[in-house]
């Protein structure tokens, strides 16, 4: 079978950062009218490869050919003009501008030398319409859900005459329906002859959409495969370089809650609520218990968790810790009661990007001790080194700036920050979002182990399988209300889905 001419051909790409070889002799090619998935664990070099393609990073060796001629872009705008459009993992838009402005920022349609606002809005509506999205394009982007923001980012990439569309983790913040919508859009773009580079940690999505996949591991090329020639298990094996250990044993231990009924209740909420965030709910968490929160994006999962920690304060209801009613008005109050909260949005609410791994890890503990009782540098180094090793944070130097870490490693830093405070309740909001299967497994294992050691965990995830695997009990939210609280004996994802869909409690 003869293959058509590749639209993009990257050969022998090498990229070094101080102390790290991020890419080593990597080949990559794309054909028009194909969805090509780039697969690998966190830190395998996927994002770096994309950034060398779009000119964010220069390359140390190798060639990049687009449409048969060698190219070297000075940056994403230049790449975009040449037909390589990118939507990044973290949405890089301006929340203070309108939807339409975000789509056309930097290339606003003009008339008589000034911005043609009406034309801009019209074209924005057409573009979003093509994505089946109807909304007020003059509304501020910040008021839209992350899912809509993601769609806007894609619409922005599509507005130029793109030949190659790069989507870095486009689905990590979308719910099932929105993912389907996005995949539909991708299929129609593929039929128009677009070459689509698709990066996702969701194996089933990759198999649903990709025609071809390239696997990277530790900055090296593992191979290129046609989707029809490879099974999911083979794919994962190649990504992590060893046989996938199934999480069966985890499941067994997690569901054994015989001793939990006797465990004392650590935290109890009675009629707790906050206007516009979550309706009055009651919830109790026992020591050593994992309570899962299930529900769609925007169902009030995060808001509920924030009330328990004191990130927001409640309008009504009481919170009881160890049998005593406590006011929980600031995060500091939550910490004083040994509650830890790892927020959903790592970048804006979790980490301080320009500080080092070490500094981020000690931050909460140091804040609790106060400024006048500093952790000695030696102690900081010890803590950082221990958790970098225990959680397998890469790169391993604790002096790396956190913003240079991949998403999964950033998540681990956040976990480390809270683990060193030795919390009694650990609230994890989407701890596995946008991170690879290996890190995901590690985090799940860790949660199971912590709960085994007596730590209470509130686990929030959009992935029902994950919630079911870890939780002893599952609390289901719908439209900002708690609609069901179920013991996880023989619960299935379908049952939870139907509760989410119908709002009926079992």
């Amino acid at each position: 079978m003869t293959e058509p001419e590749a639209i993009l051909r990257m050969t022998g790409i090498r990229k070094e950062f101080p102390g790290v070889v991020a890419l080593d002799d990597v080949d990559f090619r794309m054909f028009p009218g194909e969805v090509h998935a780039l697969m690998g664990e966190n830190g395998a070099g996927k994002s770096t490869l994309i950034k060398t393609l779009t000119g964010v990073h220069g390359i140390d060796a190798g060639t990049i050919e687009l449409g048969g001629s060698a190219v070297s872009f000075a940056g994403p705008p230049e790449a975009q003009r040449a037909g390589v459009s990118t939507v990044y993992q973290e949405v890089n838009l301006c929340p203070n501008l309108s939807v339409a402005e975000n789509i056309f920022i930097g290339r606003e349609p003009r008339r008589f030398g000034r911005i043609h606002w009406a034309g801009m809005r019209r074209r924005a509506e057409v573009l979003l319409g093509a994505l089946d999205l109807r909304l007020d394009v003059s509304a501020g982007l910040g008021s839209q859900s992350i899912a809509v923001q993601q769609m806007v980012a894609i619409a922005r990439a599509l507005d130029v005459s793109a030949r190659v569309l790069v989507l870095d983790e486009p689905t990590s913040s979308l719910d099932a329906g929105e993912v389907e919508q996005l995949l539909k859009v991708l299929r129609s773009l593929r039929e128009d002859g677009m070459a689509i580079l698709f990066v996702s940690h969701f194996i089933d999505q990759v198999f649903a959409i990709a025609d071809r996949m390239t696997v990277l591991r530790n900055g090296k090329l593992v191979g290129e495969y046609r989707t029809s020639d490879i099974t999911p298990v083979e794919l994962v094996t190649r990504m992590i370089g060893k046989e996938l250990e199934v999480l069966d044993d985890l499941e067994e231990s997690a569901h054994d809650r015989s001793d939990l009924a006797a465990a004392p209740v650590f935290l109890q909420a009675d009629g707790l609520s906050r206007k516009g965030a979550v309706a009055p709910f009651s919830l109790e968490i026992r020591q050593g218990e994992v309570v899962g929160l299930a529900g769609l994006l925007g169902s009030g999962r995060t808001e509920l968790a924030r009330l328990l920690f004191g990130a927001d304060h409640s309008d009504s209801g009481t919170l009881t810790v160890d049998g005593a009613v406590v006011p929980m008005r600031t995060p500091r109050a939550g910490m004083d009661h040994r509650i830890a909260f790892s927020p959903e949005d790592r970048k804006t609410e979790g980490l301080v990007g320009e500080l080092t791994v070490r500094e981020n890890i000690v931050l909460a503990l140091q804040a609790a001790r106060g400024w006048s009782r500093p952790l000695s540098r030696k102690r900081q180094d010890e803590l950082a080194a221990r958790y970098v090793a225990a959680l397998d944070i890469r790169p391993t130097s604790p002096e790396t700036l956190v913003r240079n870490l991949s998403g999964g490693n950033q998540q681990k830093v956040l976990l480390a920050r809270w683990l060193i405070t030795e919390p009694r309740l650990l609230i994890l909001d989407e701890p596995t979002r946008g991170i690879d299967i290996g890190a995901k497994t590690e985090i799940q294992r860790l949660v199971a182990k912590l709960s085994g050691d007596g730590m209470a965990v509130l686990f929030i995830s959009a992935e029902l399988e994950e919630v079911l695997r870890l939780s002893h009990r599952v609390t289901v939210l719908r439209d900002r209300k708690v609609v069901a609280q179920l013991d996880n004996e023989s619960l299935t994802a379908d049952e939870i889905m139907s509760i989410i869909a119908e709002g009926s409690s079992a």
Binding site: E349, L375, R417
Partner: protein, 345 residues
């Protein structure tokens, strides 16, 4: 070596000093007269001391993502109040009376810093607006204190703050040195530095990590007020009087410039006190150089501005990358093209 944060500021400082040396060969000579050190280099340190002080305070404020435009006015108020008290004394040379004057002035400056901190940390007003209030009102307060006149004083002990000597060195240099060392030790030996950088780097993440950022922000404005107060005493002691209109005029801008040159970004987060000191000395050296070169008064500001622009350009990674790329044309050398620098909008 050019990679070090302070390489370019120090290089610019050395370059300026070399210009001075070329024009005036005796520029580096320092002599001991009556147990006091004299010389151009000593003068630079002595005259730069107030700016160093204000710069140190401003650096911590900026590190929390704030800014304090009111320091110039606080400088004026500090000098005005001290001189007012001194001028009313029967014996201006009494050490006790001088100490009272100093304490009153510094107490008021602490209160003014607390006012700024209150507006920013408690009421949540944007720092540039919050401190603009005192920037404008403060000059008025200073004028009210001096009743619109220039108060001159004869107090020996007070003038020592500006022109006295201790261990052969001007007292003002020693004061600036002590404040610098104490502040550095305080922020780096305690956890203050880390907490300030965290709050400036990501306020929400810091809050969710349990930092009491309000207190911290309040604290840096109070400290900024104190530093400005000491600088104000120095300036008025040096001129033996309080000039409400001109004391500390535009010093906030010089301080911001100094810390920027020193590598602290106005977007908050990482800060460098040492960098600020270098930056302040650079600005003071520039002023001295302009006089050494005999540039007419009318052109002084323009020359200063041009040198500052040059320093800023040399420091800008984006600008350096551009220059390098141009020099290396034709461009088949993407291999060692510098990493594109993120420029925050």
């Amino acid at each position: 070596m050019t990679g070090h944060r302070l390489f370019w500021p120090i290089a610019a400082l050395v370059a300026l000093l070399l210009v001075d040396l070329a024009v005036k060969p005796s520029f580096f000579s320092v002599e001991l007269r009556d147990g006091h050190l004299y010389g151009s280099l000593v003068d630079i340190l002595r005259l730069g001391a107030p700016l160093i002080l204000v710069g140190i305070g401003m650096t911590l404020v900026v590190a929390t993502r704030g800014i304090d435009l009111s320091v110039g006015s606080v400088v004026a108020i500090s000098g005005a109040l001290a001189c007012l008290h001194l001028s009313g004394l029967g014996d201006q040379n009494s050490v006790g009376g001088t100490l009272v004057a100093v304490a009153m002035a510094l107490g008021l400056c602490l209160a003014l810093g607390a006012w700024n901190g209150f507006l920013v940390a408690v009421l949540g007003i944007q720092p540039i607006i919050a401190t603009l209030i005192l920037m404008v009102a403060g000059r008025g307060i200073a004028q009210l204190i001096t009743d619109g006149q220039i108060i001159t004083i004869t107090s020996g002990p007070f003038r020592a703050i500006g022109s006295g000597y201790l261990l052969t060195l001007p007292l003002s240099i020693l004061i600036a040195l002590v404040v610098f060392v104490l502040t550095s030790v305080l922020v780096r030996r305690s956890a203050l530095g880390l907490l300030i950088e965290a709050v400036g780097g990501n306020p929400e993440a810091s809050r969710l990590s349990g930092l009491r950022s309000g207190r911290l922000i309040w604290l840096v404005y109070v400290f900024g007020g104190l530093c400005a107060g000491v600088a104000g005493l120095m300036i008025s002691a040096n001129t033996s009087g309080a000039d409400a209109n001109h004391a500390g005029l535009w010093i906030e801008l010089d301080a911001i410039l100094a810390l920027t040159i020193g590598g602290t970004q106005l977007t908050g987060g990482r800060f460098s006190l040492g960098g600020t000191v270098i930056g302040a000395l650079l600005i003071q050296t520039l002023t001295t150089t302009v006089y050494t070169l005999g540039i007419p008064d009318t052109a002084t500001l323009l020359v200063k501005a041009m040198v500052v622009l040059l320093v800023c350009l040399v420091q800008s990674p984006a600008f350096r990358a551009k220059v390098r790329r141009r020099r290396k044309s034709p461009p088949p050398a993407p291999a060692d093209r510098p990493v594109k620098v993120e420029v925050s909008a």
